[in-house]
Symmetry: C2
């Protein structure tokens, strides 16, 4: 075999190996997310994941290096999922209120779409790690700050478009929107209240109205799908 | 010694022993609350408490019986503290809006007054135990339901007193008030945002205003004390 062809095959094998490695990692990460959703991130260790997934501890160590590496990979996985299920579809909407409404709607539905049976890992992690300095707390805090900034930007775009009043305090409104998500999540998870998502949406619309945002043009009769009404 | 006197002494020793036992239990519980506030309730075990308090594991077992017994005692301790610091002082206010405002104000301050350096154990426990059926989840859920009911009752009293509009949806408003507490708590704990408590109070007043409740008569210039503005 000449050297050139050998190199092509070598490279191709390398990429196949990489792709396989990435696929394995993705499959493991999916399991890790489902476990973390139920047990909390603090309870997720290489040992507990090995037990639940049937994978070897040494294999998991090879992928994540440490418990902290696994936890960071899970938080990054949550960020990616959230971006795909909440922000990216919302970006298809016009900037301003339509986009802000899409973010809220997608957010209240997202853990059902993401197959996270135990609810939002990020909110739970925020409570688990708030007194636990380190890389995990940093990444959780940074992720929730970025989410807040996106909400603030969306509110400002709605103000710029004249859809919300000019004196709207974007940071205050973004805080109130986030609070509604946390409230809905607690009601849905702890009280299994099927109205939790609808309560949050109603309060959200009232907030917009208070700041000059009228009823959504396309939303007459629009309700949350059944799986989302629990704001998982 | 005649039998009668012996019985009196015996009883007196028994009660002294009981009082001492209760004092010890209270002192241990105080330490357990401080630890649970930082580590979360799920992370609180007889072993970890023994390590941090310097007490013997066997002594702690004698007081609480098991990890679950300790966790239940901590939740009951949180309920008692909350009642003393939030509800009881609010009951001194007139029923209706003055009482509702006092509950919200006391609630946003309560973990500072309760010496819970890591924030509200109950909210953290709600996230830790939402997928963990058992006695602890039941007690957490029941406690938060009772709190919600008290808020609903306070809103209804304000409606009855003509301080809020007759069409006020008390359950919806109570949900929104709870959400603001959760939002403030997360901002204070994770972002160390000193404005968290003030943001929640401002949103709370706006909610009341929306339902016909004007500015509080005595509240001109009233602000949260410095330790409370972080809504610990």
């Amino acid at each position: 075999m000449n050297k050139y062809i050998y190199r092509i095959i070598e490279r191709s094998c390398y990429y196949m190996h990489m792709r396989k490695g990435q696929q394995t990692r993705s499959a493991i990460l999916e399991q890790a997310l489902a476990v973390a959703s139920r047990t909390g991130l603090a309870g997720l260790t290489i040992g507990s994941l090995a037990e639940r997934s049937g994978l070897s501890k040494s294999g998991l160590f090879a992928h994540f290096g440490s418990k902290e590496g696994l936890q960071l990979a899970v938080i990054q996985g949550v960020r990616d999922l959230y971006s795909r299920l909440v922000f990216q579809p919302a970006m298809q909407q016009q900037p301003g209120l339509p986009r802000l409404r899409a973010i809220m709607q997608n957010w209240l539905e997202w853990t059902a779409g993401a197959n996270l049976p135990g609810g939002c890992i990020m909110t739970a992690a925020a409570h688990e790690f708030d007194d636990n300095p380190g890389a995990v707390r940093e990444l959780v805090s940074q992720s929730l700050r970025e989410l807040r900034k996106t909400l603030v930007r969306s509110v400002r775009l709605a103000v710029d478009a004249g859809q919300l009043r000019a004196d709207t305090d974007a940071e205050q409104l973004a805080f109130e929107i986030c609070s509604l998500y946390f409230g809905a999540q607690l009601d849905a998870r702890l009280f299994a209240d099927p109205r939790a998502g609808e309560r949050a949406l109603l309060a959200f619309e009232n907030l917009l109205e208070r700041h000059g945002g009228g009823a959504p043009a396309q939303a007459s009769g629009r309700t949350l799908p059944a799986h989302a009404s629990a704001a998982h």
